[in-house]
């Protein structure tokens, strides 16, 4: 769903990406975007300050960025830098600019940064996960040090981070170094089968960071890091399901985690208030 909850983008194995207007409980098809040659795995909306932009990734190894101009949706850019299916796309926090992370079955993660005038710069992390990468999720933007009003034109120095989950059963945390290169910062091990999805929780101003992960092994873990202590992440098992868990996602204030799994149900969980009714 887009930022305001007014539009919904869906993707399908029929290779199409559809956009619906869902205001006031309605469902009106606005656009049917064709361009992929294989099943489309995921779509992601960019922040509205960049306009109406949607990214989609597919089995056809491509990532397509669609843009709405004058009421019509068109293909704005195509990225074909992967050798196999691209499984996941995720836009970075808007504070960093317009940056898209893509995870692929070829094991690589590519980062597309919009540099203006229709140009996109590509950085690739090869062999991020052996066998393949299934999910990418950005950490919320946190400004280091004091937040003095920066003189216009200068961007504050954000520490950009994201998490990825792969077929090597691992979750990896990546950090951008000062030279612009991405380095593997942490490896989180707890799953015994392919990690299907990772979701970094939105920041609510507390010093802890939280990541949810789910896997083919049926487990959902919640990882927390107390930033004061540095880089120790500790997992807590949320639940073990009897089947593969495909998707985890946080509500916008991070108070509810939704999980969908092979049991064909969607579970919601309030990890912080397990003793209060939900």
């Amino acid at each position: 769903m887009d930022y305001y909850g007014t539009r919904l983008a869906t993707c399908s194995s029929d290779r199409s990406v559809k956009i619906f207007d869902v205001r006031n409980g309605g469902q009106i098809l606005i656009a049917d975007l064709r361009g992929h040659e294989g099943p489309v795995w995921q779509v992601a909306w960019a922040h509205p300050m960049y306009g109406n932009i949607l990214a989609s990734c597919s089995y056809d190894r491509k990532v397509i960025i669609w843009r709405e101009e004058n009421g019509t949706w068109e293909k704005s850019h195509e990225h074909a830098g992967h050798d196999s299916s691209v499984n996941s796309v995720c836009w970075a926090p808007h504070d960093y600019g317009l940056i898209l992370a893509c995870g692929s079955s070829d094991g690589a993660i590519s980062l597309l940064t919009y540099t203006g005038e229709g140009q996109w710069e590509v950085k690739k992390i090869n062999n991020a996960h052996t066998i393949g990468c299934n999910a990418v999720s950005w950490a919320p933007a946190v400004v280091p040090g004091s937040l003095i009003d920066q003189p216009s034109g200068q961007k504050p120095n954000y520490i950009k981070r994201f998490a990825s989950g792969g077929c090597d059963n691992l979750i990896k945390l990546w950090k951008e170094e000062e030279d612009g290169q991405w380095k593997e910062e942490q490896k989180l091990e707890a799953h015994s089968d392919w990690v299907r999805d990772v979701a970094w929780a939105p920041s609510i101003g507390l010093p802890t960071s939280t990541i949810a992960s789910c896997s083919q092994d049926g487990r959902v873990f919640i990882w927390t890091c107390d930033d004061a202590s540095g880089n120790t992440w500790s997992p807590k098992l949320l639940h073990k399901f009897n089947d593969v868990v495909w998707h985890v996602s946080w509500s916008i204030t991070a108070n509810i985690l939704a999980v969908s799994g092979g049991d064909n149900k969607v579970h919601t969980h309030s990890p912080h208030h397990s003793h209060l009714p939900r």
């Binding site: 930022y3 300050m49 009003d149 101003g205 916008i252």
Partner: protein
């Protein structure tokens, strides 16, 4: 590893066959969308094109009810008033204020109930009539619970007064729901006990009351023992009732609508000076006796019992489970917190019960297109997580009208939420550019202090000028003031416009200096220099000499600079050749005009004044 999750509640979505098909979902700002997919592990998925339904799952649907909206609006006012009660106030005056607040809340619930009741009666179809009626019952239950909490926790009625309050409580709720005028047990006694208690302005002490009552009770017992009324079984059973005989009371069960009516009546006759701490014993046994093992307690019963046991946390917990939205628990808990009754119950985040409930309630309000404004105030009074929750929610409000955008911005600016202000202004600036409203885009990017965007918009303005020969949004550009400094391009735009103004006012010398300085200072983008030089032409052609010799030299320098940097063109097509032709002609004209001006300037400056 130990699991965190307990037994989850199940929400069934009508129309979705969860045995067959996988569901997918996504979060919206306030709700979740769920959709059935064709993916199924057991069967081979049919490649049938279908447009399955998308289900919207919302927690707080009550936000959309017209009548409840009044409840939300008015309680919001009461909430604010409560937060502003002077913390210094203590003792009796504080208590009376808090009681007043509680009564205000209750009157709002009653008003809402009344209105909904009217609607229920007037409803055209029985289904919606039933729905409204059930809402009325829920509101009535809420008021019942709140009232009891007021008596026990806020008023903190001591023994003696306690029963009086409970009597009022029962009378209020039982008699109105039943509207039975023949409530023998209720109405028979007012005369008896009114005079007995001597209300109001009761000056008897508790002991005096107890003694009086004991005396009366013994007298009744004696009548029973003496079988004074043996001939009249009705009078005898009445006597038994007045002695608080439970069995006798229960015989009149049809007249007692529920167990708490039974409880209060029983207390009236067996222990009117009951102490608050003893209440729970009577409550539990009354419930058990009344239900008589035939039925089990309902959620409402459990809530009331918890209240009689003075277990505030249990009351809140049960209410949270039983009710469909957070309104009730949020406001009641907040009030009880002001009465300093809640223990600092630290939850995982370090926030407390009151804050948690208020946050949930306020988040629900944000789902509504206009009630979100109420939510803002609630977040303001959540000291730990209110601000960040507000930041997260306020950015997601769709800014469909300028008015709404301005409202949201004002709220952010008042709270120094600079990030949100910037983000929202950027979004609006973007939208304006896409709709070709450059003036609007410019003012939004100035408000956002976004230099890059201001540059972009200024470029568009300049391009427009080149194409059309005039500026749009002159007012805005003329009144930029210090905002002009935001970006170089913007400064140029402002100054360029100033140049035009000066020319229009025939302040040629000033205009000339300005024009020149735009180029020499580097503020003007190189791509625009040709236009600027062309603008200089009319000044060069004037009868009087405007540009001084030195200025002319500088202009010539600029022209040479510009022409020398022209890239060498290879094979060019007709259009390019034509353009080049025009360019060359222009340059020639300029060179001529500059040369002529130089000559005149030198002469003028060389001559003596007045000669």
């Amino acid at each position: 590893m130990e699991e965190l999750d307990g037994e989850p509640a199940v929400t069934v979505i009508p129309g979705v066959n969860s045995k067959k098909n996988q569901m997918c979902f996504d979060w919206g700002p306030g709700e979740m969308l769920v959709c059935e997919t064709s993916f199924s592990k057991k069967e081979k998925s049919e490649m049938v094109p279908s447009c399955p339904f998308i289900y919207i799952i919302r927690k707080d649907v009550d936000v959309y009810s017209q009548i409840l909206r009044k409840l939300f609006n008015e309680s919001h006012g009461i909430f604010l008033g409560l937060q502003r009660i002077d913390e210094e106030l203590t003792g009796k005056s504080r208590k009376s204020q808090l009681v007043r607040v509680s009564k205000n809340y209750r009157s709002v619930i009653r008003a809402c109930m009344e209105e909904m009741h009217q609607v229920a009666i007037a409803a055209k179809d029985p289904a919606s009539g039933r729905q409204f009626s059930s809402q009325v019952s829920i509101l009535s239950a809420m008021e019942l619970i709140w009232n009891l909490c007021e008596i026990l926790f806020i008023e903190v009625a001591p023994a003696g007064h306690l029963l009086l309050h409970l009597l009022d409580w029962v009378r209020l709720h039982v008699c109105e729901v039943d509207s039975l005028s023949a409530d023998v047990l209720g109405s028979e006694n007012p005369s008896n006990h009114d005079s007995f208690w001597n209300l109001p302005g009761n000056t008897q002490t508790l002991t005096e009351l107890e003694l009086k009552w004991q005396h009366w009770h013994e007298e009744c017992e004696r009548y029973l023992q003496d079988s004074t009324f043996a001939t009249n079984p009705h009078l005898e059973s009445l006597l038994k009732i007045m002695l608080g005989d439970e069995a006798a009371l229960l015989e009149q069960k049809e007249l007692l609508s529920n167990w708490y009516h039974f409880l209060v009546t029983r207390l009236l006759y067996s222990n009117p000076t009951v102490k608050p701490i003893d209440l729970h014993y009577y409550a539990q046994s009354s419930l058990d006796l009344f239900l008589g093992g035939e039925s089990s307690p309902e959620p409402l019963d459990n809530i009331l019992l918890a209240a009689f046991e003075f277990d505030i946390h249990q009351v809140i917990k049960e209410c949270s489970i039983a009710l469909s939205n957070w309104w009730f628990v949020a406001h009641l808990t907040d009030l009880l917190d002001h009465c300093k009754l809640l223990q600092s119950h630290n939850l995982y985040f370090g926030s407390n019960m009151r804050e948690f409930l208020l946050l949930e309630y306020a988040s629900g309000l944000f789902a509504h297109p206009s009630l979100w404004q109420l939510g803002v105030d609630y977040f303001d009074y959540c000291p730990k997580l209110g601000r960040v929750s507000l930041e997260l929610h306020i950015e997601r409000i769709p800014l469909n009208t300028e008015q709404k955008a301005l409202k949201v911005l004002r709220i952010c600016e008042q709270r120094q939420m600079t990030e949100q202000v910037r983000s929202i202004c950027k979004i609006l600036a973007m939208k304006a550019v896409r709709n070709n409203r450059l003036g609007s885009a410019l003012s939004w990017s100035i408000r956002a202090k976004d230099a890059a965007f201001a540059t972009l918009v200024s470029d568009r303005f300049l391009r427009d000028y080149c194409e059309r020969g005039c500026f749009s949004d002159l007012d805005l550009i003329d009144n930029l003031g210090p905002a002009m400094m935001l970006s170089d391009r913007l400064t140029f735009l402002g100054k360029y416009r100033e140049f035009h103004r000066m020319y229009g006012e025939k302040r040629f010398a000033d205009a000339a200096s300005l024009l020149l300085s735009l180029m020499t200072s580097g503020i003007a983008p190189r791509s625009f220099w040709m236009t600027l030089l062309t603008d200089a032409l009319p000044l060069l052609e004037q009868k009087q000499v405007i540009f001084s010799a030195e200025q002319t030299y500088e202009l010539m320098q600029c022209l040479e600079d510009l022409t020398s940097r022209r890239p060498v063109r290879g094979e060019s097509d007709i259009q390019q050749l034509q353009d080049e032709d025009i360019e060359t002609t222009k340059v020639e004209m300029l060179r001529l005009a500059l040369a002529r001006n130089l000559a005149r300037a030198i002469i003028r400056e060389g001559s003596l004044e007045g000669s």
